[in-house]
């Protein structure tokens, strides 16, 4: 009975992810400024989420192995780290494709790309460490300790490093409001930073309810200055004109106007920002996360079973020699 239910659950994973793939192309609407390329987020974010989950589970089983010393815990720790590595590679590749569409290059050592690359190196080193130690007990013990250390770096590399950096182009605000998403509040004649670009509010024009901000944008290295004029409807609290930063698909927007202090809140609108405001996108996104998480647990189980069989066969051969 339990086996039949497990088989049914695996079939359900197959159908579910196929459904997500169809919804990704046919149900999710095109995102303004990104077109069809925005759909890749339905794969990119869930795979990144699963890699975080996988590395956490790997650390959990590594801790259990050090505590209890049972080989099956090491099997699960290794299987989980391998799955996490695979999903991180998927997140990196899908991110690079997105990068090609939005930034014009597959790889530009953006803080987000650099930090995920370092994470991949850290876990690749763990696999190298495992394969370099002959003694099984020692291999397992050292690998478990290493896995715990690697896990400590993971939240920093995935969540912290890209957010404390000023120059990331990664749309951090696509799903969560917060770091670097609050924009900059400027009065007339004041300077501020948006990403790595200096912005200066030169003036504010008001015609009826529409406010136009005259903004001068200075490129990094002070190489050039461009005048942009984003507009905002104060009656309906609506962003109107969204001029592009020169040579980029990022746009400058006025998010709020304070007429009493004659100031505005300026922000960068990256392609992908506010993507899941749409209900169909949100639903498909959540379904994708559920599907990929289930797929990860299935893969984890299969790989752990294989490692267990491999170990049993090696032990058997050893006992016969």
């Amino acid at each position: 009975m339990a086996q039949r239910m497990a088989q049914a659950a695996k079939l359900l994973i197959g159908v579910w992810i196929a459904g997500v793939a169809v919804a990704m192309f046919l149900v999710v609407p095109q995102y303004e400024g990104l077109g069809n390329a925005g759909r890749i987020i339905m794969m990119h974010v869930p795979t990144a989420w699963v890699s975080v989950l996988a590395f956490s589970i790997s650390a959990l089983f590594s801790g259990l192995y050090l505590w209890r010393g049972q080989p099956k815990h090491d099997d699960y720790a290794l299987a989980s780290a391998e799955s996490g590595f695979l999903f991180t590679v998927l997140a990196t590749v899908t991110g690079a494709i997105f990068s090609q569409v939005v930034w014009g290059v597959y790889w530009n050592w953006d803080p987000r790309q650099t930090s995920i690359f370092i994470l991949l190196l850290i876990y690749a080193a763990m696999f190298a460490l495992r394969s370099s130690i002959e003694d099984v007990a020692r291999r397992r013990q050292l690998s478990a300790v290493y896995s715990l250390f690697a896990f400590v770096t993971m939240p920093f590399l995935i969540f912290v490093a890209p957010r404390i950096s000023d120059s990331t182009l990664h749309p951090n605000c696509a799903f969560l409001q917060g770091s670097k998403c609050e924009g900059v509040e400027l009065g007339v004649g004041r300077l501020g930073l948006l990403g790595d670009r200096k912005v200066e509010l030169v003036g504010l024009d008001r015609v009826g309810d529409v406010v136009t901000a005259k903004v001068e944008v200075t490129e990094p290295g002070m190489s050039s200055v461009t005048a942009l004029s984003p507009t905002y409807d104060t009656a309906n609290h609506k962003i109107l004109e969204r001029p592009n930063f020169p040579g980029l698909r990022f746009r400058l927007v006025v998010e709020d106007v304070n007429l009493a202090t004659n100031s505005v809140r300026l922000n960068i609108e990256a392609p992908g920002t506010g993507l899941i405001d749409n209900g169909r996108t949100l639903f498909t996104f959540l379904a994708s996360i559920v599907g990929f998480t289930a797929l990860f647990f299935w893969m984890l189980n299969v790989r752990a079973t294989l490692l267990n069989v491999e170990w049993a066969l090696a032990r058997r051969e050893g006992s016969r020699v």
Partner: protein
């Protein structure tokens, strides 16, 4: 000219490719899963077979003249 990759059809082509890749991965995973579980069962069965058989009867010393249940 290239009707397969014009704006409207490209989405369907991309979806077909994605689905094909997923079907391939799913079938591969399903087969590995089935084979791994079969191998594990087989090993467990062999392990049980190789273990020394448990004694099926016990011998009890009986003093001479003592009644014995037959």
């Amino acid at each position: 000219m290239n009707t397969a990759l014009d704006a409207g059809a490209a989405v369907y082509v991309a979806m077909a490719v994605t689905l094909s890749v997923w079907v391939g991965i799913f079938v591969y995973l399903w087969r590995i899963d089935t084979q791994a579980r079969a191998l594990k069962r087989e090993l467990e069965r062999e392990d049980r077979r190789e273990q020394p058989a448990a004694p099926r009867s016990t011998v009890t010393r009986v003093r001479e003249g003592e009644p014995v249940e037959k």
